[in-house]
């Protein structure tokens, strides 16, 4: 009797809390549906080769969506992530082609690349958090600046990356494709970062800046660190792009910026900040990737591809909201 009375109000509440705690669940559902659709149209796309190809192409967007998530946690945004990818891409390719393609050079290039990404992130952080400019406008401006730097480093696309680099990216370790190892390492990194003080502090700042400041949190430093972390992950994304395209291109990342924002939103994070998960953003990036390949597999004529892609992303966004709402009510 007591149970019968107590149960009805508790049940929807617990599902609601479940969704609240794991806001990426709708994205996971959509991703699995898209994966099934892909398999339906092109069975080989969900085989090992197909999935390796998907991971190879979209690992960069996954990393970039993760990068974007950390600034969005704090209620900020970074419209320069794509430009950072381009800049890191041309810097490491130029460095490696100048120094030769041996392993030491590749490792040194990666250290330099991470340094460039970090520096770009710190520039964004200073402009947004210290000088208090609007994040959306300030990072748009820095994106032009970073793109300018990339064009100065490498005025035209096409310088090839050394074979060591892209062979490793496309290769296998212990018979398992390298990109899968990369996904595992990414998962471990995300898990560890989620346990740091910074993750909670970023979310607290995004939730209520005034409240966080009044709680004695170093708000400026926290937002700066968010941008710095974003820059580092953008550099990692640039490594993947370089591995995938095997060349330097000063404009390669530009169009990825807004896809990274879309992936974050698809993943269930709030653009206003204070709420979200990086896992959701990874799923969001995969949703975008799966939509692109599905559009291709169903044989959409090339002039219609953008239109269908755009519609499909819109539908995925709406579906995510509806799934969340249905589960909550």
């Amino acid at each position: 009797m007591v149970d019968a009375v107590a149960q009805p109000p508790r049940n929807p509440g617990s599902i609601k809390r479940f969704i609240e705690r794991y806001p990426f669940l709708p994205a996971l559902v959509i991703m699995l549906v898209l994966l099934a659709l892909n398999g339906l149209w092109q069975p080989r796309s969900v085989g090992l080769v197909g999935l390796t190809g998907l991971a190879k192409t979209y690992l960069a967007l996954m990393l970039l969506a993760v990068a974007q998530t950390y600034v969005i946690y704090a209620g900020d945004i970074d419209l320069s992530v794509g430009a950072i990818v381009s800049l890191v891409n041309v810097v490491i390719v130029a460095f490696m082609s100048a120094m030769g393609g041996d392993t030491i050079t590749v490792l040194a290039a990666m250290v330099i690349g991470l340094g460039v990404g970090l520096a770009c992130g710190i520039v964004n952080g200073v402009v947004v958090a210290v000088f208090r400019l609007q994040a959306i406008v300030a990072t748009f401006a820095t994106s032009i600046f970073f793109t300018g730097l990339a064009l100065w480093v490498m005025p035209v696309a096409g310088t090839p990356a050394p074979a060591t680099f892209w062979r490793a990216y496309g290769g296998r370790i212990l018979e398992v494709p390298f990109v899968f190892w990369a996904v595992v390492v990414l998962a471990i990194m995300l898990y560890l970062i989620a346990r740091t003080r910074l993750a909670i502090q970023l979310l607290a700042v995004g939730d209520d800046v005034q409240g966080a400041y009044q709680s004695g949190l170093p708000v400026t430093a926290i937002r700066m660190r968010g941008y710095a972390l974003c820059g580092l992950f953008a550099a990692l994304a640039a490594f993947c792009i370089t591995g995938d395209t095997a060349s330097g291109d000063p404009l390669v990342g530009g169009k990825m910026t807004l896809f990274s924002v879309a992936a974050v939103v698809l993943g269930g994070s709030a653009l206003a900040g204070g709420h979200g998960t990086v896992v959701g953003s990874v799923f969001g990036a995969l949703i975008i990737g799966l939509i692109n390949s599905l559009v291709y597999f169903v044989g959409t004529p090339s002039e219609w591809q953008n239109l269908v892609q755009g519609l499909a992303i819109l539908i995925a966004l709406v579906a995510g909201i509806l799934i969340g709402r249905r589960a909550r009510s």
Binding site: G13, R17, E20, L192, R195, T196, R197, I200, Q201, L203, A204, D207, D208, Q210, G211, A212, Y213, Q214, S215, G216, L217, P218, G274, H275
Partner: protein, 512 residues
């Protein structure tokens, strides 16, 4: 450690845990605090009291570092300190409960409690230690936290009283020697308040110095050791609770010289006209069972502490947040303000003190800001600028509005002149009922004078007006009749010679 037995001991300066003197803060033309003094002993609960806008919260925020004072001195443990920000305050051992709360809504209760100082192991947050530490403070309120309250609940699903408890726990978790509580009990029920007071008494016994703000006299006399009264941004005096009485405290808040004097401009409209607006048992979010008649030519005042339902009633009448139950009659006809458009077309005008949110159209010209109501009431689709200017000019002139040209952006005007533009927008087509929701917030004295002169003139011309003001002086000087709100209900009506500060405070501060 109990409080020192006599006055003489308190006067020894190095005995004070915290001593604040001559602190002031102004925001543009608005002086929030003109001269704040406070001496806080270790081992006492020190009550701060004062009417709306007397500077209590500003004083607290200065001590907590979240507001930088323009002038003044803060001395902690005998040494002058500069509280440059909340982090500095934390380092100095000052913890504060914010009236408006400082919680992260999407974080859990335990994360919020530990947020200022997360326990770490190496580079990672120690979740176990965090839970254990939060649990200690949650346990203090064991049994009174209410349903659905758990350490891992996110704050956004909690009720107002539960959030207030979380903010209290967060403040206690600072373990600071100086604790400031700015209205910690406003949403709590009796058992929660009793539990909180038990905790305060224990902390006092441990030698903590505690500042406590509340508007409830019974609470103040139940928990306080000393009381410091603020009036109009100044510290009026400090006495021991044991040596005073509620009436005495109200008298200090009011000031002796004005306590029993009826304000000069208290002349009611010669002969109030017919009933323009009548409410019967109106209830909604934030107010219940509100009934009154408003006559043409009358200025009806809404008084009481902040947020006791005054604004909510006005917004319900304007259709911005419709009432749930009760009847409204406008000119004797039943009237249901389902949304602001219905209310505006029926002849209701609403002016809010929150210009940014409810009033001005930011970034647009003065002309565009004066004419939207004219468009709506006359269902205009197109109009020439010159016609509109001709209509707007007399409305703006009536208020002595200073502006360079109709095409200038609204942002080029001072707060006072912006508010005049907002009011003028209602005067092109005369409304029957004018609702003023704390209309003078943040505007200077001369603009206030212009505004109230106009309001009186409109009343004399037969308009029915409701004025809610958070400044009691304004209310007493301008309203013909005052309804005092307390916890969403009208608890007292002040008419004629009863319209004094004393009666207003007495009604506002009695326990609901």
């Amino acid at each position: 450690m109990s409080p020192p037995p006599d006055q003489a001991l308190w006067d020894i300066p190095d005995m004070a845990k915290l001593s604040i003197s001559g602190v002031s803060k102004a925001y543009g033309a608005t002086v929030a605090l003109s001269h704040g003094d406070l001496d806080l002993e270790a081992g006492e609960v020190h009550v701060l009291i004062g009417s709306n806008g007397s500077g209590k919260s500003t004083l607290c925020k200065i001590v907590a570092g979240s507001v930088k004072p323009d002038k003044g001195k803060v001395v902690l443990d005998g040494a002058p300190v500069a509280v440059s920000g909340p982090r500095a305050a934390k380092a100095l051992g000052i913890g504060i409960f914010y009236q408006e709360l400082s919680l992260a809504a999407r974080r859990t209760v335990e994360e919020n409690i530990c947020l200022p100082d997360l326990p770490m192991t190496g580079p990672f947050v120690d979740r176990k230690a965090l839970s254990a530490r939060a649990a200690r403070y949650i346990a203090l309120f064991d049994g009174v936290t209410g349903e659905d309250f758990a350490a891992n609940t996110t704050v956004d699903v909690l009720r107002a009283d539960q959030r207030q408890l979380v903010e209290i726990m967060k403040t206690l978790a600072t373990e600071a020697p100086v604790l400031i509580f700015d209205e910690p009990t406003s949403a709590l029920d009796r058992t929660q308040v009793d539990r909180f007071f038990e905790i305060l008494r224990r902390l006092k016994g441990e030698g903590r110095a505690i500042v406590f703000i509340s508007h409830r006299m019974d609470e103040i006399f139940a928990i306080g050791d000393r009381v410091t009264v603020l009036r109009d941004g100044r510290t009026v005096g400090t006495t021991r609770i044991a040596d005073t009485s509620p009436a005495e405290v109200v008298r200090m808040m009011v000031g002796e010289e004005t306590s029993l004097v009826v304000p000069a401009q208290a002349e009611a409209a010669a002969s109030p006209g017919a009933v323009a607006l009548s409410l019967r048992g109106l209830s909604g979010k934030g107010f219940s069972e509100v009934s009154f008649d408003l006559r043409q030519g009358e200025i009806l005042g809404f008084g009481g502490l902040h947020g006791q339902g005054q604004s909510a009633v006005l917004r319900a009448l304007f259709g911005a947040a419709p009432a749930a139950a009760g009847d409204i009659a406008l000119d004797g006809q039943p009237f249901v303000p389902a949304n602001p458009r219905v209310a505006i077309r029926a002849g209701i005008a609403y002016v809010s003190g929150d210009r940014g949110r409810d009033g001005i159209i930011q970034g647009r010209t003065i002309l565009e800001n004066v004419t939207p109501i004219h468009f709506l009431r006359n269902r205009l689709k197109l109009a020439s600028a010159s016609t509109l200017r001709a209509k707007a000019t007399p409305a703006l002139a009536a208020l002595n509005t200073k502006f360079a040209g109709f095409s200038h952006p609204i942002g080029s005007l001072s707060g006072g002149n912006q508010q005049k533009i907002v009011i003028a927008r209602w005067l092109i087509d005369r409304p029957q009922v004018l609702l003023l929701d704390d209309p003078t917030k943040g505007i200077d004295l001369s603009a206030k004078a212009d505004l109230f002169a106009l309001v009186r003139k409109l009343a004399q011309e037969g308009m029915a007006i409701i004025l809610y003001s958070s400044e009691d002086v304004e209310l007493l000087a301008n309203a013909d009749r005052i309804l005092v709100f307390n916890a969403g209900r009208v608890t007292r009506e002040l008419t004629g010679t009863d319209r004094t500060r004393f009666h207003l405070y007495e009604a506002a501060y009695e326990a609901a």
